[in-house]
């Protein structure tokens, strides 16, 4: 089942609440472990205890081949190790007990068509490495959903809209007011370029210079706001007609117009990203870049920000989109579950404009 994150004022309020919730409250909630999981790891550890003498150390190898989130897998493994210790089984790391007999264990977190399936393989016969006994427990996926563990996830898609060798700060695709043709606005530090679609190509139709003030920035910031018919570059704010395709008038503002739109969010320092409108499950979706610098490839990863008191405060969700260079900006569209991203492709040298669509999947 797939659904778009729906616009939801309550979620926005909840997100603001999340920003101010004490981190310890999240940490306590995240430590909660579903009873069904607890029962399952206890059952597996009991099977090991029945097959292995307490005087024989065991080694544990873990594989997660299920859809379980790595953080959940780690919690299951930690709980299982705790249960082994409760049975007085000595857990050793492979190689630390050279010369001593150990019983290798392999815990595999798997899943069937309708349940999570956790398997413990006990390699009791040192002479026959392919001989093992197996214990299996299943955990209903529905139980974990009910426990709030199995969150919906974000699927990301990217679409390349534009590329050029010169740096640009933001872009927007607009409708032409008169004929309805698509137009593309590209915001550079010194000009706003307006392109019209001609056949399959974008052709430059108009450009507006942007006044320069002070020293040029090495990390310029700029944004197009079509709803307000305006653009902003550093201290300059310019307004024009609805699609910004004709003359624009610019003024210098103090404080700079963009400053109010920036907020540092704890936990994502050193990244660029945007909160998307609406919710995915009970969480707020966000798109966040990697933490590399401008010389490295980068990615955009979906996150689900949990505004409630249960569950971890933020969790990586779905697969990241990889880019051949740094993500320079990510701006959310407040009306849809899309964002626009500007990427500097280090392989080609071009600056690229992408529309990133986040789909909430269950």
């Amino acid at each position: 089942m797939q659904s778009r994150p729906s616009l939801h004022l309550a979620a926005r309020i909840a997100f603001l609440a999340f920003l101010f919730l004490p981190r310890t409250a999240h940490a306590q909630a995240a430590a909660a472990f579903p009873q069904s999981w607890n029962d399952a790891v206890t059952q597996l550890a009991d099977q090991v205890a029945a097959a292995v003498s307490a005087s024989t150390p065991v080694t544990l190898d873990v594989k997660n081949i299920s859809g379980l989130d790595p953080s959940d897998a780690n919690r299951i493994v930690a709980a299982f190790q705790g249960e082994l210790r409760r049975h007085s089984l000595g857990l050793a790391s492979a190689g630390s007990l050279a010369g001593r007999t150990t019983v290798p264990l392999r815990l595999t977190l798997s899943e069937s068509a309708d349940a999570y399936l956790w398997a413990i393989q006990i390699f009791n016969n040192a002479r026959d490495p392919i001989s093992f006994s197996t214990g299996l427990v299943s955990v209903s996926k529905e139980n974990t959903v009910a426990n709030g563990i199995n969150q919906p996830f974000l699927s990301l898609d990217e679409r390349l809209v534009w590329k050029q060798p010169d740096k640009f700060l933001d872009f927007a695709i607009v409708r032409d007011a008169t004929v309805g043709d698509a137009a593309l606005a590209i915001l550079e530090t010194k000009r706003l370029a307006d392109y019209k679609l001609s056949g399959a190509d974008w052709l430059l139709s108009h450009e507006s210079p942007i006044p320069q003030t002070g020293f040029p920035s090495r990390d310029p910031d700029g944004r197009i706001d079509l709803k307000e018919h305006s653009i902003a570059v550093a201290e300059i704010r310019c307004t024009g007609d609805p699609d910004l395709s004709a003359k624009i008038s610019c003024t210098k503002l103090n404080p700079p117009p963009l400053a109010i739109a920036h907020t540092d969010v704890s936990g994502f320092a050193g990244t660029v990203g945007a909160i998307l409108p609406g919710t995915c499950g009970s969480a707020t979706p966000a798109l966040i870049s990697g933490i590399g610098d401008w010389t490295q490839s980068d990615s955009i990863q979906g996150y689900l920000l949990n505004a409630t008191t249960s569950g971890p405060p933020e969790s990586r969700s779905g697969n990241a989109i990889e880019f051949d260079g740094p993500v320079l900006s990510v701006q959310a569209d407040p009306e849809t579950s899309t964002a626009r991203a500007v990427v500097h492709n280090l392989k080609t040298g071009n600056y690229e404009a992408y529309i990133v669509t986040a789909t909430c999947s269950h």
Binding site: Y116, A119, K227, H262, V272, P334, T336, R340
Partner: protein, 401 residues
């Protein structure tokens, strides 16, 4: 560089009216869906069993399901006309069928007006017709899926739901030592190479009777070839045994797999002779009956206990007594299902090789197609056809919406 998280304020708005978001368009009624099949179906009478290959039997089941929706408890059609989403409007046995949408179908009229089904069409012709937009839907042999994709054909692939296995017909209790030749044969088979080279990576090597996605325990059954162990087992037997391995002579995949197995077995010191055999395996033992046979067995359910019961029932038709225990309860635990699988496989009368998906080639205008799951039939009542002018579908997709 200082990189900041830009949180968009509530007032910031950028319109994306010109960007077509990936939302699903409303379905379109009308048009004729063109389907081409390789199988030759002689009769559509639901009371008549298919007398051809398993391919023909599968095709007949699919077409019958479009005409006769009501099913008996065992999954067979009741044969009541007018109950399916489509009605038969013309029928040339073995050649073609035309179906018209049933306006009174209780679950709603199908989106397409008609389906034209052409039978007995060779794969190369079907592929060419897809490329030329002369057909909308056809089956692609899994070993040809990669080739089709490279030619730009739009593909749709199911989860692996057909087991290719080697089945020994012998039905007598044998001692553990007597299973060694079979075990050695199993250990000699390079399943990964079968998938990589013969199936062009379309499939999963398996040592289990159920696919991983269904049971979740397939990983517990080894798929690795182990020639030293195979040779060790064979060293305990003298003289080295010989096997005749049968395969469906009409199935090029079975033939190539059988020949590959013969090569693998030779490396372990086993003599295996691959011989083509009639499509329908006979249970009557004669001098020419192969010792073992390659079989393609469809998964008929997703739920592992049900799937295993039905798989064993199908295998029993060729190798009676392959599973003597009572059928598993639907609520059997994973441990019980795994133990049953292990018990059957330890006798080495069945040697699982590969789980294979069903692959379909689609024309760009086909919308709303989902590859059917185990035991399901083609969802052609849900399919609709895009008009050519709004067709924007990428030619390379898997599992379309």
């Amino acid at each position: 560089m200082l990189r900041r998280l830009a949180v968009i304020s509530l007032g910031l708005a950028v319109l994306f009216a010109a960007i077509p978001a990936r939302t699903s368009r409303p379905p379109r009624y009308g048009g004729t869906l063109r389907v081409e099949l390789g199988a030759i179906v002689a009769s559509l009478d639901p009371a008549t069993a298919s007398d051809g290959t398993s391919q023909a039997s599968a095709a007949k089941t699919q077409i019958d399901a479009l005409i006769y929706a009501n099913q008996n408890l065992d999954g067979t059609s009741t044969g009541t006309p007018g109950t399916g989403p489509f009605a038969l409007s013309s029928w040339l046995p073995g050649k073609s069928a035309t179906l018209k949408a049933n306006d009174k179908f209780p679950q709603g009229r199908p989106f397409v007006d008609a389906i034209e089904i052409t039978l007995g069409r060779a794969f190369r012709d079907r592929l060419l017709d897809l490329e030329l937009n002369k057909t909308d839907l056809t089956e692609i042999p899994p070993q040809d899926a990669r080739h089709a994709a490279e030619r730009g054909v739009r593909l749709s692939q199911s989860p692996p739901d057909e087991l290719l296995a080697l089945v020994f017909s012998e039905n007598r209790a044998i001692s553990a030592t007597e299973t060694h030749p079979r075990q050695a044969l199993s250990l000699s088979i390079d399943r990964a190479a079968i998938v990589t080279f013969l199936l062009q990576k379309t499939g999963e090597p398996t040592g289990a009777l159920l696919p991983q996605w269904s049971s979740g325990t397939s990983f517990l059954f080894s798929t690795s070839a182990d020639l030293p162990r195979a040779k060790e087992l064979l060293a305990q037997i003298a003289p080295a045994p010989k096997f005749v391995l049968g395969y469906d002579s009409a199935d090029p995949l079975e033939q190539s797999v059988a020949e590959r197995i013969a090569v693998n077995a030779k490396e372990a010191g086993l003599m295996v002779t691959a011989v083509g055999a009639p499509p329908s395996p006979s249970t009557t033992k004669t001098d020419s009956t192969p010792d073992a046979r390659l079989m393609r067995v469809p998964l008929r359910a997703s739920q592992p206990a049900v799937a295993l019961n039905r798989l064993l029932r199908d295998l029993n038709s060729y190798a009676p007594g392959i599973a003597t225990s009572a059928a598993l309860s639907e609520s059997a635990s994973p441990q019980i299902i795994y133990n049953r699988e292990r018990e059957i496989l330890d006798a080495f009368r069945i040697v699982p090789l590969v789980w294979i998906p069903q692959v379909y080639g689609l024309s760009p205008r086909v919308r709303n197609w989902t590859p059917p799951g185990p035991g399901q039939t083609w969802p052609l009542a849900d399919v609709w056809l895009d008009s050519p002018e709004t067709n924007t579908t990428s030619p390379h997709i898997k599992d379309p919406e």
